[in-house]
Symmetry: C2
Subunit: 399 residues, 2 copies
């Protein structure tokens, strides 16, 4: 097996739990050996590292049918399937991945892994630091999208996958997709970045930074070392507020108006003379609360901060001579999918990815999803996204 690793980076030996024949869609783990910690992009090392992942379908004997799906900020390895042990929520891309679907598990061997820094099985701030026997908390290092991708490349080695038929992902998933193609151009036969960007803009950094600042205001965050808190005594209000902010940027003005308008959610007591109260919620606030609280039940606040920072730091051009030089490394077909109404990753960013790749002699196609739903359109408008992916994968598989 030959792999294309960044210059100077040594292979990371692994001790894996997965073997061919293991059940599909059940979470598996691979642990990278402690004696070879990961050299982080930002300096320093981290180890041992465990990566949680799931697979669907069967790897072909020539190993040509493997598709990697990269998840977004608060996603995890559970692309498809019901909630269960290790999967607090149902699959986040139901309808996209499965038998006969756009990413067809009858034909493809589909892999999705939780990112480094996450909290659904992969090593993150809530993991035990072997140096202290306690959770890392505030001592967990800043990781980058490149670090995440490098750990998943080790997983690919472990699975015997030298080359992915395609690497596909939306939002932060799309960042990983681009890093795959730039870091490991020989290991990808195609990529599909969706509703993402080649580098985070100042406005994207601003949204993220203010959300983190809100989380930090919660005294129960305790500088990141809150893991000994009693149940329910963690930084839930802070995480919830940060998520509420993000949730606005995930959707759109039009859809908020259609769904919520100016409806009031909270009724004041009948015996109260006042018609309004400062904390009385409009329906849209109840919706945001719902999303905030839903996240709190399944996600770690430190992982939220850390992964948010990784997105701000995302820049495929860093230390590579800039965006154009970096994207010149992309040698495979690129399907770049933008969403018309995306507020967070405006469609011009996906257009730019395609334009830059083409300008460097690559082969990129831009497809626009005509969705009113904003950024989350990649999770909602499954038909349109799938209709773009299906023929693209078909063509790549036959090349």
């Amino acid at each position: 097996m030959t792999t294309n690793r960044p210059t100077g980076a040594e292979p990371l030996p692994v001790t894996g739990a997965w073997r061919p024949g293991d059940p599909a869609g059940r979470r598996q783990f691979v642990t990278m050996a402690e004696r070879r910690p990961l050299a982080l992009e930002g300096g320093g090392t981290l180890g041992p590292i465990t990566i949680a992942y799931e697979t669907w379908g069967t790897l072909a004997s020539d190993r040509s049918n493997a598709v990697l799906i990269c998840h977004a900020w608060t996603g995890d390895s559970h692309v498809s399937g019901p909630a269960g042990v290790g999967h607090p929520t149902p699959g986040w891309w139901e309808g996209m991945v499965g038998p006969g679907l756009a990413i067809d598990t009858d034909r493809h061997f589909v892999v999705c892994a939780n990112v480094l820094g996450g909290c659904q099985g992969s090593t993150g701030p809530a993991s035990i630091d072997p140096a202290t026997g306690a959770p890392y908390g505030s001592r967990f290092p800043v990781v980058t999208i490149r670090d995440m991708v490098r750990t998943h490349a080790v997983l690919a080695d472990e699975l015997g996958i030298d080359t992915w038929l395609s690497v596909v992902g939306g939002s932060m998933g799309g960042m990983q997709v681009l890093e795959w193609a730039v870091t490991f151009p020989d290991r990808v036969r195609s990529i599909v970045p969706i509703a993402s960007c080649a580098q985070a803009t100042a406005q994207q950094i601003a949204w993220g930074a203010v959300g983190r600042r809100a989380l930090k205001l919660d005294p129960r965050w305790r500088g990141g070392d809150y893991y000994d808190a009693a149940p329910g005594d963690g930084p839930h209000d802070g995480l919830s507020t940060a998520r509420m902010l993000a949730q606005i940027t995930f959707r759109s003005d039009d859809v908020f108006t259609d769904r919520f308008g100016r409806e009031m959610a909270d009724r004041l007591p009948e015996n109260q003379p006042e018609k309004f109260a400062l904390w009385q919620r409009f329906e849209v606030e109840r919706y945001l609360d719902y999303h905030g609280e839903k996240l709190v039940r399944r996600f770690d606040a430190n992982s939220y901060l850390l992964i948010g920072k990784a997105m701000d730091l995302h820049d495929v051009g860093r230390d590579r001579g800039g965006l154009e030089a970096a994207l010149a490394r992309v040698r495979c077909p690129v399907l770049s999918i933008g969403i018309r109404s995306d507020l967070l990753y405006p469609k011009y960013q996906q257009e730019e990815i395609a334009a830059l790749v083409n300008r460097q002699g690559g082969v990129a196609t831009y497809v626009e999803v005509d969705s009113p739903h904003g950024h989350d359109g990649f999770l909602i408008n499954i038909d349109q996204v799938g209709n773009a992916i299906t023929p693209f994968l078909e063509k790549v598989a036959n090349e």
Copy 2:
């Protein structure tokens, strides 16, 4: 003097401090008599109420040249002039108001008053509640844009201004402008709402609500009763964070990219092996910090919450049979100014104001400011806004 007050609302007697001949651009106060408290739109009463205001120019003997300027969220009466006692910041609309400018103080008598609920001289949460002798704090009632406008109508009475030549304002100022025209159609000869809306949308409510939620996370907010805190021990972090969020919505993606890009503001110590740190700031974060801290030095957190809530509650159609019925009351010429790149009050809302007024038989013109600066364009692109206002006021004055 005849005035046109909403049915059932009694005149509010006043004891005013201002008299003709008082110096221009110096803050004055009018206090409404305690025996007639203001009946709030949301129920309950409030009094006594003091309103701080400033004037520029000379009221004509026929009182036909008075222009009211309505300020935005964290604005105050100080439209123009240097910082000084009672004016912690220079005028917020310098270049727009003055001799020979678009709102020409050689020809017009210009008035701007701090809003009810504010903290620059008008009664607000930091004012002393006569019932307790302590600041209102959490006991200050929710006020609406209509309440603000009604107190300014009393000020107009006190100044002897039966009819404004024009009422002009951007953002929350534009909300007051519309309320003036709908509540007191006989008291306005023209209106100029800028970068504003006839009713707050779900997305606008969402931005505001999340900012307030962030402020509330600050333990030093103490439920709103923090006025006995030691200097520097108020809810500064919370207010600053809320303001940072708002500041993103006041500007634009393009301008953030041009100004800040991905520049890093904080350098890590040379002797530190790590290249990145979780709280290391990009330049855009330093900019947001700057704006947050700047506001903290001059603004009260409770006023910020209260006025934000008033904007969420803004709906000229409430209890008036809806938007169309309300805007049918507008009998004066309307100059509705939108900003091309406005993220917070998208230009379609200003187009809608003009369209609705025209559909009801009114006379409205929509003018678009071709600015890349986003919502704050009404404060930045003075030339374009002024070029629209000058001929409009000229025409109204000659009618």
